[in-house]
Point group: C2
């Protein structure tokens, strides 16, 4: 499987990031990833079909929020925390603040 395309931090588009974060499923993914270093797609599907998850991961990835790498048959996803914090300080913190 060819590697995924990830935007560089200079290419991050705020609109795109906001759109990515405006969906409850994706917000949930981001929050989970924030506390977990890495996670496979499968770990994060809470009853949702895989194809839906794949869609959401793509949106997150293309916005620059999530990095995905292949490891065998699984994909490891991680939050691009450092790059996001450097570019938009406080943004991820705002997302996590809401968590129960």
């Amino acid at each position: 499987m060819r590697p995924f395309k990830h935007p560089d931090p200079e290419q991050f588009a705020l609109e795109r990031i906001f759109h990515a974060l405006s969906d409850p499923a994706r917000l949930e993914i981001v929050r989970h990833l924030a506390g977990v270093e890495q996670a496979t797609c499968g770990e994060l599907e809470f009853g949702r079909p895989k194809s839906s998850m794949s869609h959401h991961f793509r949106i997150l990835r293309e916005a620059g929020l999530v990095h995905t790498s292949s490891a065998g048959t699984t994909h490891l996803n991680s939050l691009r925390r450092k790059e996001l914090d450097a570019r938009f300080p406080g943004l991820i913190a705002a997302v996590l603040k809401q968590q129960p």
Copy 2:
């Protein structure tokens, strides 16, 4: 005209705020308001029809980003900066950082 409904800061929903900010026109409005204290709807329509602007202001208002008050025949809009900064530090700053 009856006064507009504005959510209290405790009611701010992050998803809703992100959705509001994921549109270029609305991002433009927010950026403009950030430097201006108050503005009428008319001042901010850059070629866009009034009905579209009214729509965007409503989205912003209902998300808690903008406060609107009536003054004669005009409506004065302002960014709810203090409340937003208190609840989501860095969020508005991230929006403004991008500005040309």
